[in-house]
């Protein structure tokens, strides 16, 4: 078996040999993806990858190298030293894990951990049962459904010169459903169901707001679109609101604030949203499906209140930027899946609503425009917060009668939108984007411009 602590020790030994202090991060990752449609399994792919990131300090300079493969040790240390030699001097900032000594087995939910010896996550205990459930979900008489089930299993180890060492295992599963109307007007939405195992994700798909609700929505979208909108109150489906939360995230990063890339710079303690809104970052597995022991710098996982009841409470930080600001990291230093330098960012962000969860059209005469699917949200402006995306939706009258609202655009500013949320509905809907997950209930909002 691939012995993570020996691999870390080998790297640290190579660094010590050339008189360098060192941190070594090793991630062994096994990904499995199965795509299923009504005809059966159309694609089944698996990959196993080892990625190591080595950071060295010598003569007051810091350098980093990444190796994708099992070839560890001297060459990576040499590469890192060559990087450091041409960069400006940089001091080493102490990591928190070396004193905290977090115990991954105590911090992770033991029942959620993968057994790394059990086929390295390639096949769950009963793959036939998973395939059977996927096939059943994909066979809906009135819809074209394609399901992409992904399972990611990672083992991560982190060690440094001087003896600090932590190790953890993690697993995340996602079932992405692409649902289109069969043989009728063009209609499509996508939904993600996320869990610690594929069974969890499939359970989420089976719940009340899962696949059945999505299929009902597509059925409405396949109808003739309305040609005129009456005055409407806008409800952003949780999947859409969660993607807007992803657009907010860069403004909540300490590096962005220090580099003048965030409109929230200098606003700590200020009211930035509605009083009933909080935004938390949680990698402990309590409020989100992500349960880790530490981030990619060894900082213990925690729950961080970013916006608490409308006020900006804190921002996401890693060791480097926290040190520059005279703070300590709150555990948001992450490396990209393929390795690379640590950057500040979210891993599990959740928007919470503290008011009652209810549908609140302000006037009983108003109809509701429910934005059920968004297109192009990732291309919005993360610095100004301005967004404008393509969307499809459903118009509901006060009796609950629903019609296809057709295609339209939704424009606004995500920072302004925080103050314009007037209510929420349902439990959080989680979506995955760029290695992080974002969750939000469906949100009633004002102040958006609907274009059509």
């Amino acid at each position: 078996m691939f012995d993570l602590d020996s691999a870390v020790a080998k790297i640290l030994g190579s660094a010590a040999y050339v008189g360098a202090e060192c941190e070594a991060w090793i991630c062994r990752r096994v990904d499995q993806n199965i795509i299923v449609d009504s005809t059966g399994v159309t694609q089944w792919s698996s990959s196993a990858a080892s990625v190591s990131a080595v950071t060295v300090w010598r003569d007051g300079r810091e350098g980093c190298a990444v190796v994708k493969g099992d070839d560890l040790g001297a060459s990576a240390v040499e590469d890192a030293l060559s990087v450091g030699a041409v960069l400006p001097p940089s001091e080493r900032v102490a990591r928190q894990f070396s004193t905290v000594r977090c115990d991954p087995s105590a911090r992770c939910d033991p029942s959620a951990r993968c057994d790394p010896s059990a086929g390295a996550g390639y096949d769950e205990d009963n793959p036939e049962a998973v395939l059977s459930r996927l096939a059943a979900l994909a066979r809906c008489a009135d819809m074209d459904i394609e399901l992409c089930a992904s399972l990611e299993h990672t083992q991560t180890a982190f060690g440094e010169t001087g003896g600090g060492y932590v190790e953890q295992a993690d697993q995340l599963a996602c079932v992405q459903a692409r649902i289109a109307a069969r043989g009728r007007g063009p209609a499509y939405i996508a939904r993600q169901f996320i869990g610690r195992t594929l069974g969890d994700a499939l359970d989420a798909a089976d719940r009340a707001l899962g696949m059945d609700a999505a299929c009902r929505t597509v059925d409405i979208l396949s109808g003739e679109p309305v040609t005129w909108y009456p005055p409407v109150t806008v409800l952003l489906h949780g999947a859409v609101a969660a993607r807007l939360l992803a657009l907010l995230a860069p403004s909540l990063q300490l590096d962005a604030i220090q580099q003048q890339r965030s409109r929230l710079a200098g606003r700590l303690g200020d009211a930035v949203g509605a009083e009933q809104i909080s935004v938390i970052h949680d990698t402990t597995g309590v409020f989100t499906p992500i349960a880790l022991a530490f981030d990619d710098e060894g900082t213990p996982a925690r729950l961080t209140r970013l916006i608490h009841r409308g006020r900006l409470d804190s921002v996401l930080s890693d060791v480097r930027y926290a040190h520059q600001a005279g703070q300590t990291s709150n555990g948001c230093g992450w490396r990209p899946a393929g390795g690379g330098a640590v950057t500040v960012g979210p891993r599990a962000l959740l928007l919470q609503w503290h008011g009652p969860h209810m549908p609140p059209p302000a006037s009983s005469a108003e109809m509701t425009l429910e934005v059920v699917h968004a297109n192009g949200m990732h291309i919005s402006n993360e610095i100004t917060g301005d967004f404008s995306f393509g969307a499809v939706g459903v118009i509901r009258d006060v009796r609950g009668c629903a019609r296809n609202a057709g295609a339209f655009t939704v424009a606004g500013n995500v920072l302004d939108l925080l103050a314009d949320v007037t209510g929420a509905v349902g439990s959080p809907c989680f979506v995955r984007r760029s290695g992080a997950i974002y969750g939000s209930p469906s949100l009633w909002v004002n102040g958006l411009t609907i274009g059509r």
Binding site: F2, A49, G63, A65, G69, P186, I379
Partner: protein, 468 residues
């Protein structure tokens, strides 16, 4: 023997060994098998506040084994594409694949680490033989200086950079591939006003092909232009789109739905070959042979020799973009568009360089012939829903056109439409072909894609601004 040649030979050996091992097992129902392996190095990082703040050297390698498997007793098109891959190749990949195909090999023995002793070790490219970091730092400083020279209002310059060298082997074919991709973001401030500029130059060549001060100045200009911009309007207007990166319109509206996996999913262009789908003066091809384009390759990631594919000829749909698997399912020839982000990922039908053939119109005539509308000077990314044809793309620098002249700048906005309708509304094609670079994400895989074409005008697109 050079290091690159030695690595190329080893990659070929790895592919041959894997295929040989699989072939000896004579798996039942296998329609086609292929193998790929790669070794690469890169330098990537971020430059902010006038210095490099993140930098790392990387080496990468890996191998994969793929097959198309027809399940016994089922329909002719009822096949599964299998892909197994690892950073270190081993006999375990073959065992895993055989298990998937219904063999008896136990999965519990699969992928034991480390994979040493298998004789299949892929040597890495030496990272330190790659781009000089000293030269790279000097280059980035020039970009920064150029951006700040645009105007004192430019307050921040953030440059993401990656310089990649890969040796990629698909079967017996070996290709040396290079990529330089920069993401230059600029921020301009004037009082309470904040504006951003984005410029993403890329090449399949070398860093030295860029003029750093000039590209920085362009990125700075884009941010400064945004200061004082008025909100974009809302509604349907004529939109004139500058060529090069602006061809993202066709990338989204036309070519993603022509990727044959999307055809299998029920794209709006399914069953449309031979039928008109665009205005008569629209000819679109996908061409991986365009020199310098970030979408350039000699063969695709499944070993198909690169060649242009004529997709739309004078408005008529002529072909689709296929990978080996989708070509098999659809009974079409492979078009050298099987691409993957790395050898660890399964190849999918992807674009290389999307090319719109030049038309007869001068760009200034297209503008002067537009009474009122939007001029999209710099365009960002986009997205499409292939089954409905609904697409969007971002206008980062746009202007109002009034009486045939470019007037007020507008804040960045999204433009939306339905591809199957919009292609028929392209009413002018310019003669000023330019080349642009972008990155395209699909099923979690991001690959570089080229965009080549002239200025064009669409008679009506939905502009998603805020100025009602």
């Amino acid at each position: 023997m050079s290091a690159a040649t030695a690595i190329s030979d080893r990659l070929r050996t790895v592919c041959e060994e894997q295929l040989s091992l699989l072939g000896r097992q004579r798996p039942v129902g296998v329609v086609a098998v292929s193998a790929a392996a790669e070794s690469g190095r890169s330098v990537q990082g971020r430059f902010t506040d006038g210095r490099i703040v993140e930098l790392s050297r990387s080496t990468r390698r890996g191998a994969s084994l793929r097959c198309i498997h027809r399940r016994a007793g089922e329909g002719a098109d009822n096949t599964t594409f299998h892909h197994v891959a690892a950073t270190e190749p081993s006999a375990g990949l073959v065992r895993l694949l055989l298990t998937r195909l219904g063999g008896t090999t136990s999965s519990s023995t699969i992928l034991e680490y480390p994979h040493t002793g298998s004789g299949l070790v892929i040597p890495p490219l030496r990272a330190q033989d790659g781009v000089s970091i000293t030269e790279l730092a000097a280059f980035l400083e020039q970009v920064d200086a150029g951006a700040r020279s645009a105007d004192p209002a430019v307050s921040q310059v953030i440059i993401g950079f990656e310089v990649i060298d890969r040796i990629f082997c698909a079967g017996a074919d070996v290709d040396e591939r290079s990529l330089v991709y920069l993401t230059v973001r600029t921020i301009a401030r004037k009082g309470p006003q904040l504006a951003t500029g984005v410029y993403t130059p890329g090449t399949s060549g070398r860093l030295a092909e860029f003029t750093p001060f000039a590209l920085g100045a362009e990125a700075g200009r884009r941010a400064v232009t945004g200061l004082g911009a008025r909100p974009a309007p809302v509604g349907h207007f004529p939109v004139v789109i500058r060529g090069g990166r602006g061809i993202v319109l066709l990338h989204e509206a036309c070519c993603h739905p022509l990727e044959s996996d999307e055809i299998l999913r029920g794209s709006v262009y399914a069953d449309q070959i031979g039928r008109p789908i665009a205005a008569q003066h629209v000819t679109i091809s996908d061409d991986p042979t365009v020199a310098g384009s970030v979408g350039h390759y000699r063969f695709d990631d499944e070993g198909q020799p690169a060649r242009p594919t004529l997709l739309v000829e004078n408005g008529v749909l002529r072909a689709l973009l296929t990978s080996g698997y989708t070509a098999d399912r659809l009974g079409l020839p492979p078009t050298a568009n099987g691409r993957c982000a790395s050898v660890l990922d399964p190849p999918l039908p992807r674009m290389s360089t999307t090319c719109l053939a030049a038309g007869p119109d001068r760009p200034e005539d297209i503008l002067s012939g537009t009474e009122f509308g939007i001029y999209a000077e710099n365009v960002g990314g986009g997205e499409v829903t292939e089954s409905t044809g609904e697409f969007v793309f971002r206008v980062n620098n746009g202007y109002l056109i009034r009486d045939g002249r470019i007037t007020d700048p507008i804040r960045d906005t999204t433009i939306a439409g339905r591809g199957d309708l919009v292609l028929g509304m392209i009413d002018a094609v310019g003669n000023d072909t330019a080349l642009g670079a972008a990155k395209c994400g699909k099923q979690g895989q991001v690959v570089p894609v080229g965009l080549s074409g002239p200025t064009l005008r669409v008679a009506s697109l939905l502009v998603g601004g805020t100025d009602v």
